[in-house]
């Protein structure tokens, strides 16, 4: 594994998009995961933000995040479709190859697996002409889908070429999901991996998981589950995953620190990972299939 395999998320850093792009680039990273807020919140408008991204020299890993999408009905469904379209348009504009979607937490969503699958198919269809792939992730406090097996069940049932799975190490650790769950997943359908750790043992309630996830994550190598994070990355690597890893580190302290100090921590995390997961596996599966 090498530095090019890893990217930072704008959500880890404070400041305007230009400062984030500059800091990430100066730290030697080549890719960045954007939040839609980075674009629409720009004081000179989204066009200026898009231009800054395209001029940055950084590759865009993806755009996040579409929330509470699946399982809505009537007006709420139409409303969410409009939100999704807006995010897909932004993804295309900023040349993000992927839109991250997380499982619903909405009290208004219906408990109907088939309806969730139909909604994911619809989202995948919306994404085809835009040239964007959909990566679906199970939030550990999701209302119906709250772990990797649940998210994979929906993705595989939907069975659309541009719809795949996103794995976030936080949710895996927070839910104590066993690594054997990865054995069920088609490696070609794993579209995206997000990495982070946190400082204490697995939070027991959905509320605690959400609180930790949104404010108190740290980079891999800085937290309480270093061995588990390394095991996870090794397992994903063994699957033959060749996509991007991004640091999904929500941390209130990091957003009030100098950007260079935070990117230094991200670089140390890359060094820690590459030290523990020696190198990417040779693509055995693909060679064997050819």
């Amino acid at each position: 594994m090498k530095l090019e395999d890893f990217g930072m998320d704008t959500i880890t850093l404070a400041g305007p998009i230009e400062a984030k792009l500059r800091a990430v680039r100066q730290a030697g990273f080549t890719q960045i995961m954007l939040s839609a807020r980075d674009l629409v919140g720009h004081p000179e408008g989204e066009a200026a933000a898009i231009r800054a991204v395209l001029d940055s020299g950084l590759r865009v890993t993806g755009l996040q995040v579409l929330r509470d999408f699946e399982g809505l009905t009537g007006q709420l469904h139409e409303y969410k479709i409009d939100v999704a379209k807006s995010m897909l348009e932004m993804a295309r504009a900023v040349r993000a190859p992927l839109l991250l979607v997380c499982s619903t937490t909405s009290a208004h969503a219906v408990a109907d697996f088939d309806a969730h699958v139909a909604d994911l198919r619809k989202l995948a269809m919306l994404a085809v002409p835009m040239g964007v792939r959909i990566a679906f992730e199970g939030l550990s406090w999701g209302r119906f889908i709250d772990d990797v097996p649940g998210a994979w069940a929906a993705v595989s049932a939907a069975n659309r070429a541009n719809l795949g799975l996103a794995i976030d190490s936080f949710h895996l650790l927070a839910k104590d999901t066993p690594l054997e769950a990865l054995d069920e997943i088609d490696p070609d359908k794993l579209f995206f991996v997000q990495l982070s750790d946190f400082m204490w043992s697995a939070p027991s309630t959905p509320e605690e998981r959400r609180e930790t996830a949104r404010h108190l994550r740290v980079f891999p190598g800085e937290g309480a589950h270093s061995a588990a994070v390394a095991d996870l990355i090794r397992a994903i690597d063994r699957m033959g995953y060749e996509g991007d890893y991004s640091f999904e580190v929500f941390n209130d302290d990091y957003t009030q620190m100098q950007l260079g100090r935070v990117t230094d921590r991200a670089r140390r995390s890359v060094a820690w990972i590459t030290g523990h997961v020696s190198r990417r596996s040779l693509p055995v599966r693909r060679t064997a299939a050819a």
Partner: protein
């Protein structure tokens, strides 16, 4: 593999073929001259816009040179295929169903017609229309004035008929577009044994009635195609006798690519590129009986 063939209705929209293909052109007369050489006849003009209807046999081509349509085209840009209209059983139903399945509704821009024809986004900037008024009362009767003295139904030269459209896609995007055409319209992806023509590459999709095809082409591996973009590239015309059609069209001044591996054959032929962006592919194919 997790992919499986989902049980789709064989023809969910009652699609029977293609009503028209629309070009957007900054210089519509130059394209019109090319279409005439290809055997099309100018049969009608739009009442108020620079939009012309060309026809031969069962094929309609609309050339849209209206200012609203060409505004975003670069100066000197060649014509582009801007839309394809599918004949369906019920256009309103087809449109509603496509939107429910996740198609993007047609933008509220000037379409070639003032008559409201429902449509959705296709590849690139192109549109897919749904037309159900095909027989006794055609969509052209509303917006177009038929040319005096000319037949409204000129026969097809050399048995020419719609074969399909060739679409470029980005690398690794073929499966995405197969999902698109299969889910929305019921197209099937064919295996390589069905390949036809002189350019047997990419993936061939067959319409549910078997009368129209999309050929999806990814950029060649290892090639540096900086200008490759996703769009409708060219029209494929079927003819029962490719060599006869090639000879006849050559007599009309059409030039065919004549180098291997694209040399005209019994299977097919490819015209040279005209106006920077327009070429036609001939494919050996019997006319579909009773597509209307």
């Amino acid at each position: 593999m997790i992919r499986e063939n989902l049980p789709l209705p064989s023809n969910p929209l009652g699609m029977t073929g293609v009503e028209f293909i629309e070009f957007t052109a900054r210089e519509p007369l130059a394209l019109g001259a090319l279409l005439r050489r290809m055997g099309f006849h100018e049969v009608a003009r739009h009442r108020s816009r620079e939009v012309i209807l060309y026809r031969q046999g069962d094929m309609n081509i609309i050339v849209n040179g209206h200012a609203d349509a060409v505004r975003e085209m670069a100066q000197g840009a060649g014509p582009v295929i801007g839309a394809v209209a599918f004949r369906v059983r019920d256009a309103a139903y087809a449109h509603r169903r496509a939107i429910e399945l996740g198609a993007w509704d047609m933008p509220t821009r000037a379409s070639a017609m003032e008559l409201h024809i429902p449509g959705i986004h296709g590849v690139g900037d192109s549109l897919i229309y749904f037309v159900d008024r095909v027989d006794e009362f055609s969509i052209y009767d509303v917006d177009f004035i038929w040319n005096d003295g000319a037949t409204r139904t000129p026969p097809a030269a050399f048995g020419l008929h719609w074969f399909g459209l060739v679409q470029s896609v980005y690398s690794d995007r073929t499966a995405d577009w197969i999902d698109f055409y299969r889910t929305l319209f019921g197209f099937d992806a064919l295996d390589a044994s069905h390949f036809v023509g002189v350019l047997p590459k990419g993936t061939l999709l067959r319409s549910p009635s078997g009368s129209f095809y999309f050929q999806l082409i990814e950029p060649p591996a290892g090639a540096d195609f900086v200008d490759w973009e996703e769009r409708l590239l060219r029209i494929g015309l079927g003819t029962p006798d490719v060599p006869a059609a090639v000879r006849g069209l050559e007599e009309r001044g059409i030039v065919f690519v004549d180098r291997e591996p694209l040399r005209p054959s019994e299977k097919g032929a490819l015209t040279q590129m005209y106006l920077g962006t327009v070429c036609f592919e001939l494919v050996h194919s019997e006319p579909p009986g009773g597509s209307r």
